[in-house]
Amino acid sequence: MQRPEIDVTELLEAWRGGDARALDLLMPVVYDELRTLARSYLRRERPDHTLQATAVTHEAYLRLVEKTHPRWQGRLHFFAVAAQVMRRVLVDHARGRLAAKRGGDAIKVSLEDSDAAVEPQLDVLDLDAALTRLAKRDERKAKVIELRYFGGLTARETAEVLEVSKETVQLDTRFARSWLNRELKTVSSLGRPQEDD
């Protein structure tokens, strides 16, 4: 896999300047980095096999940006990109899996016969859909969730990126989280495994 050297910082600047294509170019680079890092984190120190998004994102930043542009002022923009990448990656991946499982609807290319059991669970596709619904109501709240859950940003960092107060971010988080949790709960009660509370 050969990829021409890409200057992440330059692309981030371009994106901040309004060039939407820059994000498309950034995605795979950031994605690769996040994945590599995430994998090594999992191996190293997380016996429960969960991912500490913050740590991963920060290290990705160090490697992709700070190495070449130590005094660059757009650190948080990088995190904002990382959050979007993370969300898109997780959603794409979940869709691919779903297509493979359903078989019937998707385009079929030769696949081996796979008997892997399908485990129904709340998935990121439901969250993504709910988040999109939320954005229609209140774009900022959806952004807050994306930055904090997919990007691992703190309330203060989120506030900085969105140029609002930290308190606003906190309240947004609390409200949006409740709203989303309720949405997901509704989804989960429709034929998915139920959790009692």
Partner: protein, 840 residues
């Protein structure tokens, strides 16, 4: 919900979220002021605020999954000159993406298949670069092209192929409720594609519905051609069997018996898989009755179970789940018929065609995909299918193979067995003619009869004798004959010889040898070493040595026989004619054609004078001379002699006698030289029928027809069929012969030339080197057979552009041919041309 209301919810939420219990309740009631809907909304949200947060779990588990899976690419990833566009799906071994060319020169959409597990991608890519040219030749409207291969940064191989959108063929047919005729037409296109690949010597190895997609327009497209071979770790490292697929890459339901057992994979393996697909398209079932789905069970069924006739499977589905009547009718309705009608439609011809493709033994299947397609075509045009003809040869093929001993002998009544052996004692073979006084032989054959009757247990329960296998009988006979101390030596010799010759007839030469040797000793003790009987014993043993390929040992035995007979009978005698013939044969088999010719001619002349021109003895001499003249390139004279032999033997032995097999085969070879291929094929197939019926399917004599049949297919350009036949002949020979047996060497040489024709230079080179070395070790390095291999290798270097390597080989080959063949022989002409080409 209006924006205003949303703001209101948010506002109340913010003010209520930090209150608890009664205070929150009061606050809410106050704020909502009788708006029940608003109250419920807020209660719901606040309740959610108290509950465990689901979001973190969802994100983390999705992330964990993606991280655990090492090989996800996303849109924008670049592999070689390909840009990933989206993920299409995944299977057990690979993930497939839609991709485009990165240079954006044209918007070609491709499927990019990335393997999951770690395989040695360097090795695979190396193989890809070797195979690339062959795969590129697979240009066919029904084959998805394999365009490129490479490896990802973390070393996983990927393949790029034409992107096909469509349904697997079985799903397509069922969804559109295609009737049997439409299904057959679609399947015919699939056959056409596979046949195209086979003509280019590419075997698919993994044909199954998910690899045969049908597009919206109804065009079937075959995917993954050549990939199974590229993934095969055995390829490249093995010297001879370059075609063995490791099991784990197979789809058990569609793999052929030889794939499951690790045998040689040829075009016949694809024919088998096509048979399974056809089976499913016709009757909606799989061929085998299975209780579970474990790989092991499927493999066992593939190896051992006889597939059920599709017409039977339709009415009695094997899988319990599918066994309900509605399911049976559903399958039939998808074909526009009622279940009973469907069964009737399949019964007979279609049953026969499918089962022919599903034979366990590769050579018993259709010889090529074209033959399969032709047969289906015949069915569609209401002509009788070939699969139902020629069942003589294939009838119960596998059963015969596994229980040959049982069927061949033991199930016959004991008297039939004895008649068989007694007749054998008096029988004439190609090599040997005994014409001694009949009284002695009659007495001995009585003795032998009794000996054989005694082999059957008398005291046992009724029927036990019939249950003994012939092999057990023979082993018992061999043991009794060797440990016999009661009878006179001549009786002992006759018994030993009988058992030895039964073994020999069955092609079990190794078991025959000690018995015939001991028989000769006994004859020496009874009749003396200067007797006619001793000469016959010597002769018999020499014949066995020839069959075993031990020419060096046979020659002195034949010489001794001849000299002894000359001393006993004078210069002219039928037995001397026989000895001359045998010596001629030895020279002939040894590649000394010029030395053999006068011996044969003397034998013909002597027998003609003493026995008459039409006697079986004279005909045997003429048959051998006919073969020799073929080898010497005198096809006209050869044809005349062979036709004479066939006519003569038919007149006195009937038209199905096994002695007809060899002249028929040889006549076929003569006609082949003339380009009369189908006539020649007919003769050879007749020879196969005769031998299969008389000797069973895995007798070495069968290989002596399969190899010329391979030669014929090569001559008419059907390299795939030639390869299958050579490999099948080889498999039979390897079962009975040691690796250095000359027939194996010659067989490998033939196979190598086919591979050479097919431009599979690496494989051909390895084989030719091995063949040349074998000839050298056998002391036949300067004989025409070896010269043919040398010439092949020379041609190979010429093709590869290495003239310096080619020249000495061609010169050596030319020198040998000049010594052993007449100047006008095509071999000499061929070499002259090759040498001219080389010196350009």
């Amino acid at each position: 919900m209006t924006d205003e209301r949303w703001r209101r919810v948010e506002e109340i939420f913010a003010s209520a979220v930090d209150l608890d219990g009664a205070a929150r309740r009061r606050h809410l009631e106050h704020e909502c002021a009788g708006d029940d809907e608003l109250l419920r909304e807020l209660e719901g949200l606040l309740e959610a605020d108290n509950r465990a947060d689901l979001l973190t779990g969802v994100v983390e588990s999705a992330a964990a999954e993606i991280v655990a899976e090492r090989d996800t690419l996303i849109a924008g990833h670049r592999l070689g000159s390909w840009l990933v566009a989206e993920r299409l799906g995944e299977g057990g071994m690979s993930v497939v993406y839609r991709a485009t060319r990165a240079d954006e020169q044209f918007e070609k959409q491709v499927a990019l298949k990335v393997l999951k597990r770690g395989m040695d991608s360097d090795e695979i890519l190396h193989r890809f670069s070797i195979e690339r040219e062959i795969l590129a030749r697979l240009e066919h409207p029904n084959i998805a092209r394999l365009l490129d291969a490479g490896s990802t940064r973390d070393g996983r191989p990927y393949f790029v192929m034409e992107l096909i959108t469509g349904d697997p063929i079985d799903v397509y047919c069922d969804r559109r409720r295609l009737d049997i005729d439409q299904r057959l037409r679609l399947f015919a296109q699939v056959c056409d594609a596979v046949a195209h690949a086979h003509r280019n010597l590419v075997v698919h190895r993994d044909l199954k519905p998910s690899n045969i997609l049908v597009t919206e327009e109804g065009v079937p497209k075959l995917l993954d051609f050549g990939i199974a071979k590229l993934l095969d770790p055995e390829v490249g490292s093995q010297v001879i069997d370059l075609t063995v697929t490791p099991l784990r890459l197979l789809t058990p339901g569609y793999a052929s018996p030889e794939q499951v057992t690790g045998g040689a994979i040829t075009t016949a393996s694809d024919i088998y898989s096509l048979g399974v697909v056809l089976y499913q398209l016709l009757c909606g079932q799989r061929p085998y009755r299975l209780t579970g789905r474990s790989t092991h069970e499927v493999e066992q069924a593939v190896r051992e179970q006889q597939p059920r006739r599709p017409s039977t499977a339709v009415l009695r589905p094997s899988e319990p789940v599918a066994g309900s009547m509605p399911e049976v009718e559903k399958i039939a309705h998808q074909r526009g018929l009622e279940a009973r009608e469907l069964a009737q439609r399949l019964q007979g011809d279609l049953d026969a065609v499918v089962l022919r493709a599903l034979r366990k033994l590769p050579a018993a299947r259709y010889p090529s995909v074209e033959h399969l397609a032709d047969d289906l075509d015949r069915y569609r045009h209401h002509q009788p299918v070939v699969a139902r003809r020629g069942t003589l040869r294939y009838r119960g093929g596998l059963f015969l193979r596994r229980h040959r001993w049982g069927v061949g002998l033991a199930s016959l009544a004991s008297l039939v067995l004895i008649a068989f052996v007694a007749a054998l004692l008096l029988q004439t073979t190609r090599l040997e003619r005994e014409r001694e006084a009949s009284e002695r032989r009659l007495r001995l054959s009585e003795e032998v009869k009794e000996f054989l009757i005694d082999l059957f247990p008398v005291a046992g329960p009724p029927g036990e004798g019939a249950q003994l296998t012939a092999r057990e009988l023979l082993e018992r006979g061999a043991e009794r004959a060797t440990s016999d101390n009661e009878h006179p030596p001549d009786v002992r010799a006759a018994r030993l010889e009988t058992v030895g010759r039964v073994y020999q007839r069955l092609g079990l030469y190794q078991q025959a040898a000690p018995l015939l040797e001991e028989s000769l000793q006994e004859i020496g003790r009874s009749a003396g070493r200067q007797s006619a009987e001793y000469a016959s014993g010597l002769n018999q043993l020499a014949i066995l040595k020839v069959k075993q390929g031990a020419f060096e040992e046979a020659e002195p035995l034949f010489r001794e026989t001849l000299e002894l007979r000359q001393t006993l009978f004078g210069p002219r005698h039928p037995l001397i004619a026989a000895s001359l013939n045998n010596l001629g044969l030895l020279r002939h088999d040894h590649g000394d054609y010029f030395g053999a010719e006068p011996l044969y001619r003397q034998a013909v002349a002597m027998d003609t004078a003493l026995e008459g021109p039409d006697s079986l003895y004279t005909l045997a001499d003429k048959a051998n001379l006919g073969l020799l003249l073929y080898d010497l390139g005198d096809y006209e004279a050869s044809e005349a002699l062979l036709r004479e032999v066939i006519a003569g033997r038919q007149a006195s032995l009937g038209s199905t006698h096994e002695e007809l097999a060899e002249p028929l085969t040889q006549l076929g070879r003569v006609l082949m030289r003339d380009g009369r291929y189908s006539e020649a094929e007919g003769l050879m197939e007749r020879a196969l029928d005769i031998l299969g019926e008389a000797l069973g399917e895995d007798h070495p004599e069968i290989a002596r027809v399969l190899a010329p049949l391979a030669e014929l297919n090569r001559a008419r350009g059907d390299l795939a069929a030639a390869e299958v036949l050579y490999r099948e002949a080889l498999a039979i020979r390897r079962k009975r012969f040691a690796e250095e047996h000359p027939e194996i060497t010659t067989n490998l040489s033939g196979l190598a030339v086919v591979l050479l024709d097919a431009q599979r230079l690496n494989e051909a080179e390895l084989l030719l080197q091995q063949v040349i070395e074998s000839y050298r070790l056998n002391g036949r390095g300067d004989r025409p057979d070896a010269a043919a291999a040398l010439c092949g290798l020379g041609r190979l270097w010429l093709e590869a552009g290495d003239v310096a390597a080619a020249l000495p080989l061609l010169h050596r080959s030319a020198a040998i041919f000049e010594r052993h063949l007449p100047p006008e022989h095509w071999r000499n002409r061929e070499l002259a041309e090759l040498l001219a080409r080389a010196s350009e």
